[in-house]
């Protein structure tokens, strides 16, 4: 029974069963044809290539959130920049949000194209030690919509993991779309077969966000993706005029602190809501360099430190 995928329909006979693709439960399953052809019983031909590529990356950090618009992209980009603040640390950002790729905007690389060579795709470098890869670089214009169903998205993510020529990365920060669906399952499937992968879960203090983030934590537990911690974003607003603090997104249930207590995942950062961060993201500039003394910059550098500590005590593992 070990060949039954975790996300399979109920009563799936298992991909290497003699009934694969022919049982009544297989009707309507997207992989029915593959199973029936017997191809599923054979090992995934790309797996070896993906694992070889993943082995060159020391630490892989997946930035997740069940909710959209809580700042996954911002946190990914800022965290990558904070990690890359040390010149000898090689950092990559992989944007697997296929339908809404925002990393090109946030990193100031809109309009860049990816070079294809015989050995793969070379990412776009924004610093000597910071590279970015996103589907945004493969589209002709900003208006192009990627109207893909799951299997196409999975295929692209697989290619991202297999074909992008990162050069000896210390950290790969992976920015994801909201939800607990195709992209997340595919990503977790491959990352967990490699070494040293962990997730950070981003939320705002609102219950409306925590509601979805709870589901994301359940997802991580279900697929056995370790969680480095919870990041609470947009906690406080600091007025640029009077420096007075106020709560823009009030919490009815105690915010991320209560989620951390109830789930056992540590709360590792509380990031302020700073209009200058939003602007730096729209313009693609390096906020950490432009405003090194702001509370937001300090909070991000502190978060980067926590992530380094997490990986130094929890890996890199060899699988």
């Amino acid at each position: 029974m070990s060949s039954v995928p975790e996300n399979a329909p109920e009563h799936c006979p298992g991909t290497d069963s003699s009934n694969a693709g022919q049982a009544s439960a297989c009707a309507g399953c997207p992989n029915q044809q593959i199973c029936a052809s017997g191809a599923a019983a054979a090992p995934d031909p790309d797996l070896a290539a993906i694992l070889a590529r993943l082995a060159t990356i020391k630490h892989k950090l997946v930035v997740l959130s069940g909710k959209g618009g809580v700042g996954k992209t911002t946190v990914s980009a800022m965290l990558a920049r904070a990690l890359a603040a040390q010149p000898l640390t090689q950092v990559g950002v992989l944007d697997v949000d296929v339908c809404g790729p925002s990393q090109p905007r946030v990193t100031g690389t809109v309009g860049n194209a990816v070079h294809t060579s015989a050995s793969g795709w070379s990412p776009v470098y924004i610093e000597d030690n910071l590279a970015v890869m996103s589907i945004g670089f493969l589209l002709e214009s900003l208006e192009d919509a990627v109207m893909w169903r799951g299997p196409n998205k999975n295929g692209l993510i697989k290619r991202f993991l297999k074909d992008v020529e990162w050069e000896g990365l210390d950290y790969l920060v992976i920015d994801t779309p909201p939800g607990t669906s195709d992209e997340h399952l595919t990503l977790a499937h491959y990352l967990l077969q490699g070494n040293a992968a962990a997730a950070v879960v981003v939320t705002t203090p609102q219950e409306v966000s925590l509601l979805d983030v709870r589901k994301e934590i359940t997802f991580c537990e279900r697929v056995k993706l370790p969680m480095a911690g919870i990041v609470e974003n947009m906690t406080m607003f600091v007025c640029p005029k009077c420096k007075g603090e106020s709560v823009v997104f009030p919490s009815a249930t105690g915010g991320a602190a209560s989620l951390a207590a109830e789930s056992g995942v540590p709360l590792i950062a509380r990031l302020p809501l700073d209009p200058l961060v939003a602007r730096a993201c729209d313009e693609g500039t390096n906020f950490l360099l432009d405003h090194p003394d702001s509370p937001a910059a300090r909070a991000y550098l502190d978060l980067a430190q926590k992530i380094k500590e997490y990986f130094s005590t929890n890996g890199p593992f060899v699988s």
């Binding site: 309507g28 997207p30 069940g66 909710k67 959209g68 618009g69 809580v70 296929v98 339908c99 809404g100 925002s102 905007r105 900003l142 208006e143 192009d144 919509a145 990627v146 109207m147 893909w148 169903r149 799951g150 299997p151 779309p177 909201p178 939800g179 607990t180 669906s181 195709d182 997340h184 399952l185 705002t204 609102q206 219950e207 409306v208 966000s209 509601l211 979805d212 709870r214 589901k215 994301e216 934590i217 359940t218 279900r222 607003f237 007025c239 640029p240 005029k241 009077c242 007075g244 106020s246 823009v248 997104f249 009030p250 919490s251 009815a252 249930t253 209009p275 939003a278 602007r279 729209d282």
Partner: protein, 275 residues
């Protein structure tokens, strides 16, 4: 399966869309529903965000269940005692708040088809709240609501370029699937500091309006960040009733009126080949 009628008992349907997450699709849906109800209509909300359903929380009906009629139809959950605002969401079918719907596309599609065909609605307007993106859920909704009377889509964005980028892609989606766009709503435009009353443009300014102008779409209005509204969404209270005289209530009223203004009743959409 194809003989089942789509959205039976629904007058007209409005789809709330945005390429970007967290821009306020659900909040907008809920506030527009409250506003339309206050204008005297019977309103339904269908939440097709399967992985992150937020509507029940915002309406304060998290713990309710969907009942089934003897002939297998689902009865929407009534939000108010006059039974003029009803809602269906996958959250009603989950056992606990922690339960995650970890589904790949085909399962989501089947669920959406069922949500669109097996609910016993009795409403003048149905608002469909969607997840972010242009993928399975959206394609399935568009495939299945052909044959229903669809007034069109509301595109929600924040003023940030980051959000406008994604909404631009959503507009391309609407054009390709021939979904009429009713207009653009700019949400989270500005925040008034409670200490000094300085209005900060936390998330830039005017992005939605200039996007509407550039794409020749009607600009429906601009809604500022309002902590009272967030608080109501957090606790499931009716902002429109509690703060009926606030400027935001007026903004939503003007937007809702614009949405239903055109007198011509939309024809049923032409059935299109499945893609």
């Amino acid at each position: 399966m194809s003989t089942e009628t789509v959205l039976n008992g629904v007058g007209e349907t409005i789809v709330v869309l945005s390429g970007k997450g967290g821009v306020g699709k659900s909040t907008t849906t809920v506030q527009l529903a409250f506003t339309l109800r206050a204008l005297g209509y019977k309103v339904g909300i269908l939440d097709v965000d399967l992985c992150g359903p937020s509507i029940p929380r915002m309406l304060g009906v998290e713990d309710q269940d969907v009942l089934t009629t003897p002939n297998g139809k689902w009865i929407p959950v009534m939000v108010d005692s006059e039974k003029k605002l009803s809602v269906v969401s996958i959250a009603f079918f989950l056992n606990s708040k922690k339960d995650a719907v970890i589904w790949r596309g085909p399962k989501k599609n089947a669920m959406i088809k069922q949500l669109l065909t097996t609910v016993a609605w009795d409403v003048d307007y149905l608002l469909i709240d969607t997840p972010p993106g242009t993928s399975d859920e959206h394609l399935s909704v568009m495939e299945n609501i052909r044959g229903a009377r669809v007034r069109g889509a509301v595109l929600v964005t924040t003023p940030q370029l980051l959000s406008v980028d994604d909404v631009t892609r959503e507009l391309t989606f609407c054009q390709k699937t021939q979904l009429n766009v009713l207009g653009v709503l700019e949400n989270m435009a500005g925040y008034v500091c409670p200490h000094c009353s300085e209005c900060s443009n936390i998330l830039a300014w005017g992005g939605g309006e200039s996007f509407a102008a550039k794409s020749s779409l009607p600009f429906l209005g601009r809604v500022p960040i309002e902590p009272n509204l967030c608080q109501c969404a957090e606790t499931g209270q009716n902002f429109m009733e509690k703060f009926a005289s606030s400027p935001i209530a007026d903004i939503y009223k003007s937007i809702a009126t614009k949405l239903i203004a055109t007198s011509s009743v939309p024809e049923a959409m032409e059935p299109q080949e499945g893609r």
